[in-house]
Amino acid sequence: MTNQNTLWQSLGRLYPHVRPIIPRLVLGLLCALGASVMALAIPQVLRVLINDALAEGGSARTVWVASGVVLLLGVLEATFVALRRQFVITPATTVETKMRTSFYRHLQNLTVEFHDRWGSGQLLSRAMSDLNLMRRWMAFGLIMLVVTSLTVVMGVTIMFFTSWALALIFVAAAVPLIIYGYRFRTSYSRVSRKSQDQAGDLATTVEESVHGIRVLKAFGRSREALEDFEEQAEELRRTEIHKARSLANFSMIVTLLPELALGASLVVGVTLAASGDVSIGALVAFFATAAAVAGPVEFIGPLLAMTFTAKTAIDRHYEVMEAENTITDAAAPVHLDAPRGDVVFGDVHFRYPDAQADADDVLDGIDLRLRAGETMALVGVTGCGKSTLLQLVPRLYDVTGGAITIDGVDLRSFSLEDLRSLVAVAFEDTTLFSTSVRDNVLMGSDATGAEADRLLEEALDVAQAHFAFELPEGLDTLIGEEGLSLSGGQRQRIALARAIAAQPTVLVLDDPLSALDVATEERVEVGLRSMLTSTTTLIVAHRPSTVALADCVALMQDGRIADVGTHSELLARNDHYRYVIASLDDEEIAQLGRAVQPALDDEGALA
């Protein structure tokens, strides 16, 4: 897994994104260097100016010149600080935004199966906070790490020139530091990964607690939800503290070791000075440099921690980016100029990728044929795979065996865009979007202007969604999560209108009338029936009333099509069908059966 990426591999993945802004990053780096050189230089310059110029009996002019020099350096320092930001910030946010939008695009393209597995909170934390971390590291951490390391290297070099013996002591302290740093990397990366994952899961819990608020309230389970959340938040807190402890220990070592070396240098240096091997001037200079290096050395701890966190963030980002999209456009997509809508399911098999090895396929060889314009009802007990079958038609999932064709063309040979304009759906879970009624209904349609208005009205009329006209702002009323909340039946009718307005060749409806009362249902059916004459329709039905819409009924049982026929045929000949669809008393069914049977016999007799 990506967890095993080394630091360089992980950071290296950023390269393609970073490449265009490398010149800016280098400029920013130079400015950061310039600023830190200025900050270091000003005290030295002051010393020289005062001790040499002013002390040697200067004039008013000397004072002005000296002040001018100091002022100039000061302005330069501030300018460098400002320039570093100017050079780096905007490009870094551009990279961040690009990565963020391509992340979103990729997520939209990934399969439904992927989204089944990933909570949206977890994805959100990757889109927001991980990319934030990455940007900060790039604009600040990376540059500062380079500047700090350079400062330390320069400082140590100067120290070597001043006194190689003392410098050796100082460098010797770096050896255990590097070893410890390596261990720190492993442990800190692990815990930082854990904390980022937990934060994502926590977001998912929040998301669920809000989406499931009605259930929580109906059962009065807010307290239990809170307890779960609290436990999870407490876990995150512990991880964070663990992470802080890991950093604290490292910071302790990073502070301690150089200081210990300096303490030793003090004793050795003074002894050397006493024996005359080192001049007092050199000794003073050595410690002055050491003092200047101490700050950057300590800064390395937090900077490394930031780098490791950024690495984790990048890993998490690419984990999703590298998730393969298995449902893609065909290489050379077929386009139907005049689609008729013959739909054929040929030995269709489907199993979820995470199904257990010994489990049967959910769809175990479906053979079904819908003639163009035909309306077929799909009937079967709850959980027999009807909804799964429907989701295969717009390729929300792909078949794992066999094929589905429209007009003889395998679904996988269409472009997704094309396929999903051919096929429109209304599922039982009605997802409406935060936009106006008009936009929600016309979502699947390319019509514009008067044509769109006509379509809209017609669709709303067929779906019996006239209530939409009486909303506060009529069809422009904002609905969906951010807008007016509608009742289950109202939502279902809008979703149905949406499917109708798309004017598809193939219409797939999953029990689309379940929330409607009988009278409304009947009116919808009258409208639908006349609409559907030219549209191939596959409709999941739980009731005889819905079946009545269909020309033909397919009975599904154990992942296969057990029987196909008209409602009355199946009622007459199929026990399982009667079991599934008939709510009348057994006797009544028996009567019905008898009523149908003679008719068939008559036909037979005539033939």
Binding site: S67, S120, M252, V270, A424, A515
Partner: protein
């Protein structure tokens, strides 16, 4: 992007009786606030911060102490080295190594102390910051759970998530680095200033004078960054809302080819977010170098004044050098302070939003002095009840209705007739606008939430499943239920068979939003939930709409067992349920227009007779 979009929500008078001026989330999306509003949201943000620090004030003090002492230990280092060179070296040359060992020893001690204390305050900071974050997280979660449905229907989950994630992140940044950088910086500046004053008070005042332009710069920065960060919160919330909406509705997004439109919208929002982020960072990009500049200019000014005094003979050259070096050092922590102030501004803006959410008052509130109801029987009575959503039109005109304990009521009527509203009132998702609604003679508003929820349970059409196993989801009805009870409940509603056929039976993970369980199966699970909860009053609002006929038949059998001695209110378009009802209420336009036993009504000529006939027809 609009800077003054009006937020979703009612007028504050609606939510806040008693004339309080708090706005809650009302102006959440506004960036430019007038002075009074700005002041009020700022102060509520500070109050929240204060209330988070208060329980942790010991930890807070302890952290500051650790920072200060570790700073002191660190400052001691150079002094010891100076001591070593100035005193121990001559002593050693004179043949006395003692002072050198003292110097070396002290240095080591200071080093150990500094490093241990550094580690200590890093831990202490994390403890403090995490304690405060946990506190706030739980507070926000608890509060959002407490808020009424009315609120949730408007506010969106994306916003709540944004409050819980990116807003809290902003606070975390302040807490993680802010405390230590502020404390260490302040201590450092204080010590340096004291030293300068001790050396030469005139220079001391010069340094203090630098505080004036710094203050003005900080004021400028505060004014602008406040707006920038506020805007950043608003925009990031929009970005998150859109993100969450897409991800939770991915099936529909794909089916209706929304990808391109969505991506374009997201690009816009992400670009807005980038723009405000750059704006806030650039403000800091003026502020921070500005502070550096003021510091450096001050050093130059000190040099001018000091230089002339040296020329005039009133100041030693050595003293001037020391003063200059100290002045330069005095401004060193300014960087850190700028960073602190920056994250403080960011966190304040975030807390403005969080505190607004926390300030929202639930419209359905638990009573102050609840009437206990340990053994509910389930008699429900509406006394002159009237209901409207907020200030909207009246949905239920005056309603008088009494339902005896143990009765099974079927509520019948067209879509939108007001059946669900009636049910929601009994479950106290909403409070009645006028009149009284009682359970066993006690007004619902006087019942403790635990008593009410034990007595009344409502199952709705949207059967939401939480991630976790099937068993977990059923156990929601009764958290302390054992596996036996859970299985028995599933059996009773006819869900056991399909559950056992799932890959891991009751332990099967239902996945995100129940992706792998069909709508009908979800309803069965949520039915089992209700069965397990075993309430005195059970409300089924279209709870069987997605069931196929065999499942419904099983449920009905279970229901008959279940309903024996309970009050039940069943809303169903399929009139099959009516058969087991003792009484049918036909609702039309928010009024009960027919009331009687099924047999009476079917025999009559009213709406129900018509409906029933239509339904009979639909069965064939």
């Amino acid at each position: 992007m609009s800077r003054t979009t009006t937020a979703a929500g009612d007028t504050p008078e609606d939510r806040k009786p008693g004339g309080s001026t708090s706005a809650g989330v009302l102006n959440e999306d506004d960036v430019l606030l007038d002075r009074a509003q700005s002041k009020s949201v700022r102060s509520r943000s500070f109050r929240l911060l204060g209330s988070l620090i208060r329980p942790n004030r010991r930890q807070f003090a302890w952290t500051v102490l650790l920072v200060v002492v570790s700073q002191a230990a660190r400052v001691a280092g150079p002094a010891i080295i100076a001591f070593g060179i100035d005193r121990a070296l001559p002593a050693l040359i004179a043949g006395n190594p003692l002072l050198l060992w003292v110097a070396g020893g002290t240095y080591l001690l200071a080093a150990v102390l500094a490093s241990v204390l550094t580690a200590g305050y890093l831990r202490a900071t994390a403890q403090l910051s995490q304690a405060m974050l946990l506190d706030l997280r739980v507070r926000v979660f608890r509060h959002t759970q407490r808020l009424s449905l009315e609120f949730h229907e408007k506010y969106t989950s994306g916003r709540i998530i944004s409050r819980q994630t990116s807003d809290l992140e902003a606070l975390r940044e302040l807490l993680d680095s802010g405390v230590s950088s502020l404390a260490s910086g302040a201590v450092f500046m204080l010590f340096t200033a004291a030293t300068i004053f001790a050396l030469d008070w005139r220079t001391g005042f010069l340094i203090l004078a630098a505080a004036v332009p710094m203050f003005l710069l900080a004021r400028w920065y505060q004014k602008h960054s406040q707006i920038a960060y506020r805007e950043s919160r608003v925009v990031s919330a929009k970005l998150i809302v859109h993100f969450i909406e897409t991800m939770t509705g991915i099936r529909a997004v794909k089916a209706f080819r929304r990808e391109t439109v969505n991506a374009r919208r997201y690009d816009e929002l992400a670009e807005d977010y980038r723009t405000v982020t750059v704006r806030s960072i650039n403000l800091n990009g003026v502020f921070q170098p500005g502070l550096v500049l003021i510091g450096n200019v001050t050093v130059a000014v000190v040099l001018v004044f000091g230089g002339f005094r040296v020329l005039g003979g009133t100041l030693e050259v050595g003293a001037l050098l020391a003063l200059l070096l100290y002045s330069k050092r005095f401004f060193q922590p300014v960087d850190q302070m700028a960073m602190f102030y920056n994250s403080f501004q960011s966190a304040s803006a975030a807390l403005e939003k969080v505190s607004g959410l926390l300030e929202e008052v639930p419209t359905v509130r638990p009573p102050k002095n609840p009437v206990p109801l340990p053994h509910p029987r389930g008699a429900i009575a509406f006394h002159d009840v009237q209901f409207r959503y907020g200030t909207g039109p009246v949905v239920l005109p005056t309603l008088d209705l009494s339902i005896q304990a143990g009765q099974t009521i079927a509520l019948v009527g067209q879509t939108g007739a007001g059946k669900s509203t009636l049910a929601k009132l009994i479950a106290r998702f909403y409070d009645v606008s006028e009149g009284r609604l009682t359970l066993d003679g006690v007004d619902l508003r006087e019942l403790a939430p635990t008593d009410l929820r034990r007595a009344v349970v409502m199952v709705t059409q949207e059967a939401f499943l939480f991630s976790g196993s099937v068993a977990d989801n059923i156990a929601l009805g009764k958290p302390d239920a054992g596996r036996d009870e859970i299985m028995a409940a599933a059996r009773a509603v006819g869900a056991e068979q399909f559950i056992l056929e799932l890959p891991e039976g009751f332990d099967t993970d239902v996945n995100k939003r129940g992706g792998r369980v069909s709508a009908g199966q979800r309803q069965l699970i949520s039915f089992a939930r209700a069965f397990l909860a075993d309430p005195a009053v059970l409300i089924l609002d279209e709870a069987t709409s997605s069931l196929d006929i065999p499942s419904e038949r099983l449920v009905q059998e279970g229901l008959q067992k279940l309903l024996g001695n309970r009050t039940a209110l069943i809303i169903a378009h399929r009139l099959s349920t009516v058969a087991i009802a003792d009484r049918v209420l036909v609702v039309h336009d928010g009024r009960v227009v027919e009331d009687g036993t099924p047999a009476q009504l079917i025999g009559g000529t009213g709406r129900f007779a018509t409906l029933h006939a239509a339904w009979k027809d639909s069965l064939v």
